[in-house]
């Protein structure tokens, strides 16, 4: 690194050209459109903000999007850790195939996931049929929203925890065992704290994804106003009613929340890398 830096930049050509293209493309596709959103929001009066965020449907949709995402991300933290653990530590036939399949929610178009989950959990679907006699309704309720959010967030936790788990030094576990710790105790007091930052990062990533998710949720949600209507759908509803200001206001709040999350995730990652470097 130090050697590379001491060579003047001039040796390699194309700085102006490539940085120029990068900045123009970034501005046209991402920055200017995002600025348009904030510009629109800046032109809103205080009364318009209040009107949007005192609307019971808007409040309910934000509660569902953020609350549902928190529940889904927590479920993903538990099951994602379990999946990562089994994939890293145990060997079983088809392990590589299962490992590859974990990325399915990244690759499967959200609309496809949405109608597939609805077909499964509808009262006449394979799973809905089994739950119906028990009085459990999933499709077209907030529970269905959480199911879709779990689907969409699953790979984030698995993929953040997996490499950390694989790099975990077995000597520490051996030390714990030789000092008389049981397996469960070793897990709780040695392994889990070491996985903590990765698990938290995975949770935050899954949460952020679920908050903004649209395609996989709207089919299974049933979209009942105030009950199973998510915030991204509220934005679309406002747009369809030509309430551009209302749509903008909700979008700005969600965008600020996701940028805050992005900062948090970056901070978490820095913390993780600092810990890794400290440990080695």
């Amino acid at each position: 690194m130090i050697g590379a830096r001491s060579i003047p930049n001039r040796v390699i050509p194309g700085f102006g050209l490539t940085l120029g293209i990068t900045l123009v493309y970034l501005s046209v596709v991402v920055l200017i459109p995002l600025a348009a959103l904030f510009l629109k929001a800046a032109g809103m009066t205080w009364a318009q903000w209040v009107a949007t965020f005192t609307d019971w449907r808007v409040i309910a949709s934000l509660k569902l999007s953020f609350g549902g995402s928190a529940i889904a991300a927590a479920l993903n933290a538990v099951f994602g850790l379990l999946v990562a653990w089994v994939l890293v530590r145990y060997d079983f036939p088809g392990r590589k195939l299962v490992d590859a399949m974990v990325d399915l929610p990244f690759a499967l178009p959200t609309a496809v996931a949405g109608i597939a989950l609805t077909a499964l959990y509808a009262p006449n679907g394979w799973i809905g049929e089994l739950l119906e006699p028990l009085g459990i309704k999933v499709a077209f309720t907030p529970v269905g929203v959480v199911v879709a959010m779990v689907f969409i967030g699953l790979p984030f936790v698995v993929r953040t925890v997996e490499p950390v788990l694989a790099d975990l030094d077995s000597e520490v576990e051996e030390a714990a065992a030789s000092l008389g710790a049981g397996r469960l105790q070793t897990f709780r007091r040695v392994i889990l704290p070491a996985l903590g930052p990765a698990l938290l990062t995975g949770f935050a990533l899954a949460f952020a994804r679920a908050v903004g998710e649209y395609g996989s949720i709207i089919f299974i949600a049933g979209n009942m106003p105030g009950v199973s209507e998510i915030a991204p759908l509220m934005i679309i509803t406002k747009l369809e009613q030509y309430d551009y200001l209302g749509a903008t206001a909700i979008a700005v709040v969600m965008l600020v929340a996701s940028f805050a999350l992005l900062l948090l995730i970056n901070a978490l990652q820095k913390w993780r890398h600092a810990r890794l470097r400290g440990a080695s």
Binding site: V30, L39, Y90, A100, L104, I115, L120, Y214, G215, L261
Partner: protein
């Protein structure tokens, strides 16, 4: 004796593996299976008839067209951005990397909304656009723009860490030996990053063809004109054409499986030649 204690008892291993596999079956395998069975409930004849509907074919064509524009543009951008960022030192570099990542933390619905606010009839540039006779919103250009926004970071974020790791020595050697800048890029840099580039293109393409939320906001859902495959799935589903909806969905699911397969193959065979920190 001590070693025996760094893994779990046999029954615990079985239990954990079983639980993990049950969870993955429920959330990954069953939705995929549901797509296939729903598409084929009325037999292969109905399945293929559904796929050869003129409106379905025009949706497939539009999806291919959009990907054929958005993906190459993002490849050019990704190559330029990673060249500028990894071959040169300049102030604001880490800010630029953060800005490139922004689209991943923006809800798809908001990614579409920003273009409506910019180019829509009531948008900032809407009036001017109409006078010029341009139509972006509720037309193909809007769909391409929204797709470019959501797939924006894929190629760049694969290439940046990879090219950072490879350093500048080889390029500098080629240049001092008299090769031109573009020749150096073509014969030295590009071969070095080819698998990483392919990896980024795969993920970018899968998202471009499967995007739903962002495209849904700007499309206007005009059949035969602004309807992509994922949007067509929604329309057919809402019209209770279950076979038709799942038939189109099955093509998208196949795309996802092919993407996953190719991606896993790249990860297994060229592990060291694609960026190490995937997705996180």
């Amino acid at each position: 004796m001590v070693r025996a204690n760094v893994t779990e008892a046999r029954w615990a291993r079985w239990l954990l593996t079983g639980l993990a596999l049950a969870f993955l079956t429920l959330f990954l395998a069953m939705p995929l299976l549901a797509v296939l069975t729903q598409a084929l409930t009325k037999g292969f004849d109905r399945y293929f008839a559904a796929l050869s509907e003129p409106l379905t074919i025009s949706a497939i064509q539009l999806t291919l067209l959009v990907a054929a524009i958005a993906v190459p543009l993002n490849v050019v951008f990704g190559l330029c951005a990673s060249w500028a960022i990894t071959k040169f030192d300049f102030p604001g570099k880490s800010l630029l990397i953060t800005l490139i990542d922004i689209p991943f933390s923006v809800s798809p619905v908001i990614s579409g909304l920003v273009y409506v606010l910019l180019f829509g009839l009531q948008g900032l540039l809407g009036e001017w656009m109409t006078e010029q006779g341009f139509r972006i919103i509720f037309a193909v250009p809007g769909i391409v723009l929204a797709t470019m926004f959501v797939t924006f970071p894929f190629v760049a974020r694969e290439l940046i860490p990879l090219m950072e790791e490879q350093g500048r020595d080889e390029e500098e050697a080629a240049l001092t030996l008299g090769a031109g800048g573009f020749r150096t890029f073509l014969l030295v840099t590009l071969p070095n990053v080819r698998w990483g580039l392919l990896y980024g293109v795969l993920l970018c393409n899968a998202r471009a063809m499967g995007e739903f939320g962002a495209v849904s906001v700007v499309s206007g859902h005009i059949r035969g004109l602004t309807n992509t495959m994922p949007l067509h799935v929604e329309i057919l589903y809402n019209e209770y054409d279950i076979v038709g909806a799942f038939a189109v969905a099955s093509l998208l699911a196949l795309l996802a499986l092919v993407t996953l397969g190719a991606k896993s193959l790249l990860e297994w065979r060229y592990r060291d030649e694609i960026a190490a920190n995937h997705r996180v």
